[in-house]
Symmetry: C2
Subunit: 242 residues, 2 copies
């Protein structure tokens, strides 16, 4: 399984994905699910993937092939003029893979794939999209500035309560890591390392990429102090009167 | 959908279930999913239900019919000698309903039903079981003294972090209500009122039954102060350094 989440804030964007994949509980591997493309000063695009690894890797390969071909008459992630057009490209790639692999997958494991695409192109404000296995997509708004894919439930309550568009990037990264902590405690198929990409609005550069492994000191401290804080918060709540 | 949870502690047991059922988002009703049977001084049994309402109501009807028939040669919830035997009866009732309704349900909505059965009979210690749609079951142990059915994910992280067998009953009831608060914020198909039954070990009486509706003052205070405590706990955590 996968857990991936992204926030679109006034100060920029934060993206994170775990790196664990599994085919059954007895076949666990590590694969990158956070991909990014950057032409400094012009565009930054970040793609998070969840679902069948064969499908999501194929989608990324198609997107990369189009960039390498570099045909001015054919849209690709590095030449489209807007994030909306970039999301359309991801949707089209999913549909192409579905046309090839869909029938045999639907007869067995099912065709499962979902994506979060975010970034900034030129003078557009940063935009964040969630693309479904059907190839259609939604865009985050100020009401709900975060999107999640994969195992989203365990980590959602804390995002629901705390997220707002004015969070600083450091606060947002912390919040996302707390959301991962809750998820990894309850679902073994989501695991470290966590890939984290922080994008500062209007810089059009992706310089802040971090891979947090299980020995990461910050994450260990955060996880421990969060456990302590939650336990003491529960203790402080007024008891139910029997 | 449903959320139901029970804790088996040294001091006794706490059971809770919401009361919302839905057939689609546009057809929401209120049905009781917490059932109990009590012969003071001899036995207390509590059953929480989740899944197809038609199935779970039929299971309860079968269990009640056997009690009303009161045939000493036929086991029922009020004459079996142990909680294990009581769990077997629930399992047998599920299988009987599955034999009748399973084929047509599996051709459409699917046969979904799960149960938590807990209580105390005579000199046995209190015991807690989770019974599956297949009619088989597991029992809680000191390692994991709680069981959940239905929409369990949103409310699980807080239970995972805080539950231990030495909790007082008032603390346990509070913890369960916090778990409901997280669930109801994220899943509209789980809703108030919440039925709560607190059983004090070795009393063999079920006297503490509470229905908490949306205007319940305690729950409102709890929900509000929990939100505030979580937000301030997040704020106090060390920021991720960008």
């Amino acid at each position: 399984m996968t857990y991936a989440v992204a926030l679109n804030l006034e100060s920029g964007m934060v993206f994170a994905a775990d790196t664990r994949t599994n085919a059954g509980l007895d076949n666990i591997s590590q694969f990158r699910k956070l991909h990014h493309w950057n032409r400094p000063g012009e565009r930054v695009l970040v793609l998070l993937t969840a679902g069948n690894l064969a499908v999501t890797q194929s989608v990324v390969s198609l997107l990369d092939e189009a960039i390498e071909e570099d045909d001015p008459g054919t849209p690709n992630l590095m030449n489209v003029a807007s994030m909306y057009r970039a999301a359309r490209l991801v949707g089209a790639a999913v549909r192409e893979i579905r046309a090839v692999d869909g029938p045999s997958l639907e007869a067995s494991a099912g065709f499962a794939a979902s994506f979060i695409l975010g970034g900034q192109i030129g003078n557009e404000p940063p935009r964040l999209f969630q693309i479904y296995a059907e190839g259609n997509f939604i865009e985050s708004t100020i009401d709900t500035p975060y999107l999640q894919i994969g195992e989203h439930k365990y980590g959602k309550p804390i995002l629901d309560r705390v997220t707002h568009a004015e969070l600083s990037l450091g606060e947002a990264a912390k919040l996302i890591l707390l959301s991962f902590d809750s998820t990894m405690r309850s679902n073994l198929s989501v695991g470290m390392p966590i890939d984290l990409l922080v994008y500062e609005r209007n810089t059009l550069e992706a310089t802040q990429f971090h891979r947090l492994d299980k020995d990461n000191e910050y994450f260990r401290r955060l996880s421990k102090s969060w456990s302590d804080a939650l336990r003491s918060a529960v203790e402080r709540m007024e008891e139910f009167e029997i």
